[in-house]
Symmetry: C2
Subunit: 429 residues, 2 copies
């Protein structure tokens, strides 16, 4: 696990001192950069928005996997770090409503399905529906954000505790709190959006109606994408970040057992993380105002995006592999070029280069006379599936003994057919 965190950007100065000779003057100390107050990036979304504004990009679709920094309390054992990876996908541009939003959800569905992390659900809601709901329930305008962040805790607190926080800590009226309570218990699909559009109170809010109309549209696209089996319109989904303006979503793993233990860890994708719900592995939403905040003329570029909590996903995958006693393959190497006899280093190197030149991922031990057993053991340990063994006899016959590591089966393959045979036998790994 440490392997994914091996290279940190910040480094104690003494680590670098005395290593670079005359170039040392170029070491980038952060202490005295001309009085600028600098920060390390907190997520990938805000820098993305700034980039679009600065470079006048009006439409783009991209993914980005990179590190972000949080001045949080690290908890190494729970996979929670101050420096960690995020994996974001965003679509920016002025388009017809809900088409890119639906694609983001399709992508979350596809990733979580393909990774086989267990059953999952994707909750969706809309900032406009939340704000409309707060308005019609009698929440004062200036309390929308703080009440919203209390609602956001429903995934880890009971309704009673959430209600109590709203009323006692945040000064909301009991009546308003109870009305919110009725709405946030609702879950459904296109039908629920339809019903709320007819709802006497909700339909009074233009904002809510706009959100609900879009929600219906979204579900119609999700049907075309065949992902409605996992998507739930859930009025309790709030999400804390200020920059969301429309649809918001969050994917959670619903399986019980050893997996959700890992899934409760923090420190992964922030959009996913902030929910801190058990098993939250992805999240995101629409942020139509963020680019405009960086544009000198305030020009807006509508955006929608998703963040996959890859550190969390990896830790779940590792725990699953551990639980099933399955070896995680740590190499892409297809074949190890080996020998049982001495003084064949040159022949091993020659064959290795032949395989490399043919596009085969081959490895060879950097020893003049390694033992066959240690060569085979290395394949077992790192999951290399094949061994190409050469000896005096094989060289004379123009063949290679190709050994399948897991079955220990060995066959003679002519040198001319070796590349194709290796490709054939490793096409599935």
């Amino acid at each position: 696990d440490e392997g994914r965190h091996q290279f940190t950007l910040k480094t104690a100065k003494e680590t670098l001192t005395g290593k670079y000779g005359e170039d040392s003057k170029l070491i980038y100390d952060l202490k005295d950069q001309g009085g600028e107050l600098l920060s390390l990036r907190y997520d990938l979304t805000v820098p993305f928005a700034r980039y679009l504004a600065m470079n006048k990009v009006t439409n783009i679709k991209r993914y980005h996997i990179a590190k972000v920094y949080r001045r949080d309390n690290p908890a190494m054992t729970r996979g929670r770090y101050r420096e960690f990876y995020q994996c974001d996908f965003d679509i920016a541009g002025q388009y017809d409503p809900m088409i890119p939003d639906a694609e983001c959800l399709k992508i979350v569905h596809e990733i979580l399905s393909e990774l086989e992390l267990g059953d999952f659900r994707i909750k969706v809601n809309d900032r406009r529906i939340l704000d409309g709901m707060f308005a019609v329930c009698g929440v004062p305008d200036d309390k929308f954000r703080t009440i919203c962040s209390t609602v956001d805790k429903l995934d880890k607190m009971s309704w009673e505790d959430v209600r109590s926080e709203m009323v006692k800590e945040k000064g909301l009226s009991e009546e308003a709190a109870d009305q919110i309570g009725q709405y946030v218990s609702l879950q459904g699909g296109m039908d629920l959006a339809e019903r709320l559009l007819q709802d006497a109170k909700m339909s009074q809010s233009k904002q809510a109606c706009a959100g609900l109309t879009d929600m219906k549209q979204l579900f119609s696209y999700l049907q075309l994408f065949q992902v409605t089996d996992k998507v739930v319109f859930d009025l309790s989904l709030a999400r804390g970040l200020d920059y969301y303006t429309g649809v918001i979503y969050e994917a959670i793993l619903t399986q019980t057992g050893p997996v959700p233990v890992a899934a409760t860890q923090n420190g992964a994708g922030e959009k996913a993380e902030e929910g801190v719900s058990v098993g939250s592995v992805a999240g995101g939403g629409r942020y139509d105002g963020l680019v405009g905040m960086f544009d000198p003329k305030g020009r807006k570029v509508p955006c929608v995006g998703v963040s996959i909590g890859i550190e969390r996903v990896f830790s779940i995958m590792e725990q699953k592999a551990e639980a099933s006693a399955e070896k995680v393959r740590t190499t892409e190497t297809q074949v190890m070029v080996a020998s049982a006899q001495k003084n064949l280093l040159e022949e091993r190197l020659r064959l290795t280069a032949e395989l490399w030149n043919a596009g085969i991922k081959a490895e060879v031990m950097y020893k003049k006379n390694p033992k066959l057993l240690s060569q085979l053991q290395h394949c077992e340990d790192s999951g290399i599936p094949l061994v190409a063994i050469i000896g005096e006899q094989e060289l004379k016959d123009g063949v290679v003994k190709l050994r399948t590591v897991h079955s220990r089966e060995e066959i003679d393959v002519s040198r001319a057919e070796l590349v194709e045979e290796i490709k054939r036998r490793t096409s599935d790994v």
Copy 2:
């Protein structure tokens, strides 16, 4: 070009302020981290060595592409940044001499050949040969490093200027300088290493002999790897970094024309960069002492590595593409799902999802009724090779009109055979 530099880790604090709501407290300011003096990493080699020592890793082979930071004068127009990517490959472990070293050179050869950047040469030398040479030429011990860094300037200064710097600025005797001058003019291969082993003066240095013996060994492996056509043993190659202990190398582009202009840019891989020779695109060497400097007990892990100057490589590739008026493909998308008629958004989305589910990289315009021309234009612009066009007639007939963008040829393909047909037609892109 800006695209590769879009996401910076350091961010003006105001960029982040007011975006995250209650989470803002987690923003990682670098100003007051408990009085620690922090630096951003300068290269990938020193952090790699520290990682090996801290985690007691005694052998590993890995590549790493990531950003490093230099407090250098940025020159954006010449592709020289304070923040830029490096691409390193290293082999750590106690092995028989020169086998991993040869693999590093094979990899440089393979990368530069496959990228088709033009003709290149890889210069090799050895720190021990340099030090032995300095010793037998009468350079005082305490001047080895400074004389070495003057020799390193031979790729951009004449011998006269280098000699003058050694004698006038660094106080070397004229006699010693002239003896160095004779050696550093030598270039060759295994034969030169052989000859220098017999050289009356050079053979007096044990260090030089060890380096020359290894150089012969290295060339014998390079012959097996079939890369000697590009590799030259060059006694003028010095390289500045303190941490090298054995073989050193540097790859340069030798082609003239528009390419070397880009190649003179700085700001790319440091191992490549420090040479600052015209066209330096990769470099590296053996550093057997670095890991031990981080190990509490001083345990050594021998290492050899190479750094590819990927920013420089990219800028050369872009210039070549520009010069040949060739369009750089900016997408991996295989097919655009399009329509000439109105009201077919749903059908387009359905087909797109079908293709996605079959593993095809498909795109669709996020508009209800885009014009066919704008859909085709987008394919032209971004290099999408195929368009799957549907209309009322195609839907009725259960076919798709598959258009090849560059030839404008269109054929009807049955819906059932579409995936295979797309795969067949895009297998080479």
